[in-house]
């Protein structure tokens, strides 16, 4: 009995702690990733390393009408040589059902560390991009996006 209560406790706490979670419940929306799940996904990518801001630039429109296809460009300052290049770029989001968006693997043969794609955003939120360099350092940039028509909510 006691053990069961212990198991339930953190869930309830999380729910009450996050007003956003309550809102999501009220609106009967699919599960949302929270700051915490995004941080968890980021932690998995960077493990124990330090993340610095700079060198990477995340380009997203500040205001989008349609969250179903939001253009996104990431570029990293790097000479892209065999000794010094961008290895991986990962994109994370705060409020989609899953914190991961995409992970790109580059190398010296990329020539330029720049990737563009189109993503879905379920809500107005912060998007974060982290680049891992060949020397093991991590650099990040974030962008806030206001979405007027969210992805994932429309029916068929």
């Amino acid at each position: 009995m006691k053990q069961e209560q212990k198991k339930i406790e953190p869930n309830r706490r999380e729910l009450i702690a996050s007003g956003a979670g309550m809102m999501a419940l009220l609106l009967i929306r699919p599960a949302q990733a929270s700051d915490e799940t995004m941080r968890g996904a980021m932690r998995q990518f960077i493990s124990e390393a330090q993340v610095r801001t700079g060198r990477i630039k995340l380009d997203l429109p500040p205001l989008v009408e349609n969250g179903n296809a939001v253009p996104l460009t990431i570029s990293v300052e790097s000479r892209m040589t065999a000794e010094d290049h961008v290895k991986t770029i990962a994109i994370f989001n705060q409020k989609n059902p899953q914190p991961n968006v995409a992970t790109f693997h580059l190398g010296p043969r990329s020539g330029r560390a720049s990737v563009s794609t189109r993503i879905r955003l379920a809500d107005s939120q912060t998007v974060i991009a982290i680049a891992q360099m060949s020397d093991g350092s991590f650099w990040s940039d974030s962008a806030d996006v206001v979405v007027t028509l969210a992805a994932c909510v429309e029916g068929l």
Partner: protein, 106 residues
């Protein structure tokens, strides 16, 4: 066979950095939506994309449901030698769609 669009410059100078664009027709069903009867629609997405240049991988991507339908990816490569670029997209059912594009390097 899904429709795919690839944009590779036909000719490039040796050492030039060229932009590659790749798009494939795919719903990228997130698995979070329901149909009109309220039944959940199973997830079906392209989960990985690889571009190889004369057999060597030069660009790779892992995709998640947060990628828009008809996934579009633009990236760049160094035109080092004439040959073939191979693009492959793999979906949740481990089915792979492959396209190739030639490139001439002068």
């Amino acid at each position: 066979m899904a429709r795919a669009l690839i944009n590779v410059p036909a000719k490039a100078k040796r050492g030039d950095i060229v932009e590659i664009k790749a798009l494939i027709a795919h719903p990228m069903e997130t698995g979070y939506r329901h149909d009109t009867k309220g039944e959940p629609i199973p997830r079906d997405i392209i989960k990985s994309f690889v571009c190889s240049y004369n057999g060597e991988d030069v660009f790779r991507a892992e995709l998640f449901p947060a990628l828009a339908a008809n996934p579009f990816i633009a990236f760049s490569i160094v035109a080092s030698e004439s040959g073939v670029l191979t693009f492959s997209w793999t979906d949740d059912h481990d089915q792979t769609e492959v396209r190739t594009a030639p490139i001439t390097v002068e």
